[in-house]
């Protein structure tokens, strides 16, 4: 079972290449060749999830980036420049982002308190807001 998983992981590269062909070409694996990226990654600490990144995951991230306003070709170019480890991180970031920045409509009193607070923390050189 492990072997099968590894086998499929190896094919993620070429499959991604097939699915994401653009006019500029994709720098992905050629038949039989182990890419430098993959060889180098063995020596760099790799997250567990990186082993499970599939072509569908890459398509997923592309769709999410497009939904966030990135042009499709541009989204593909960005993803193709990332290793599996980096892609796994982007998947987390795009999925689990904080809902929004400070909501509008807070009462002025609280806003003034926040202002004073940051002036104080800046004065103590713990923050660098102003």
């Amino acid at each position: 079972m492990n072997n099968l998983k590894k086998h499929m992981r190896w094919f993620a590269g070429p499959m991604a290449a097939v699915m994401f062909v653009t006019t500029s070409g994709i720098g992905a694996a050629q038949a039989g060749i182990v890419t430098t990226d993959e060889a180098a990654q063995q020596q760099v600490l790799a997250a567990d999830r990186a082993e499970l990144i599939t072509a569908l995951d890459r398509q997923d991230v592309r769709d999410q980036l497009v939904a966030l306003g990135v042009a499709p070709d541009e989204a593909v170019a960005r993803i193709n420049a990332m290793s599996n480890v980096e892609l796994a991180q982007v998947m987390d970031q795009v999925n689990g982002m904080p809902a929004g920045e400070g909501a509008i409509g807070f009462v002025i009193g609280i806003a003034l308190i926040v202002l004073v607070v940051f002036l104080v923390t800046d004065a103590f050189e713990v923050t660098d807001v102003y």
Partner: protein
Amino acid sequence: MNPGFSRGCRRGLRWAAPVLLLWLAACAGTPQTDRLLDPVTAPPELPVRVELDDVPFIAQEDLWCGPAAMAMAMTWSGLPMSQEQMAAQVYTEGREGTLTNDMIAGARRNGRLAVPVDTLENLLTELAAGHPVIVFQNLALDFYPQWHYAVAYGYDLEAGTILLHSGTQERHETKLGTFEYTWRRGDDWALLVLPPDMLPATASAVEVAAAAAGIERAGRTDDAATAYRTLLTRWPDNGTAWLGLGNIAYGEGDLAAAADNYRSATQADPAMGAAWNNLAVVLAEQGDMAGAREAAEAALATDDSHDAAYRETLADIAAAGG
């Protein structure tokens, strides 16, 4: 927790958020700064004062601290870019910010070495070597973050300060301790962006090779080849660099050069199965089936995580009569 993106970019006053637990994140101390500013523990070879005067300043437009920082780094590295051009490559409209990995990808797509820097000492050492560094900060607090990218271009150990091109401020001088707080809340993310014929002052061979492989992955093979060759001037026995040169040659159809480079890789790192495997593939294409089989078996003998691929290579060779 660093969300990996920058949003807000010092937009000034941000309303609301709970104001209790204010000091929670504040009082953890600044160990890196303390060590660097103490003459007893400071690294002796680090100059007291550095101010790089060749790092262009680009005042950011609203929300574009990431693109502006990248534009400054890229321009310094020899490739003049505007923040508009970089925004197209790294900014994400829907998040009003820039993902840290998109910054890395953006550098690679332009043929630049993108090397992470994660200690304050290394950051200052890179500055001392003449290299500006993009830094990622949370300027506010953990529960109420204000994410921001800036470009470090100098420091002063006597005054205990660091110099940043930040937002619309060309010369933002901040206490090193304060910087350490804001940087730590960004999970100590910083990025060195170098032209491919330059090497970092602090990174290891593994890190530089990974950065070069990133350029290759992004399709900038000429720049990647330059990076690998530059790497080999400092680390002549780096197998990954030879493998990279081999893969690039193979991609260009130069089998002879590919075979040479793969052989060099196997000599530099006999345990790198990928080098043996790729050598086997090329030898087979050249018609040297005996040599191909030998190399393919050597790949399997290394017993690394790509065994399935090596078995397939061996099977292909056997099928072709090797």
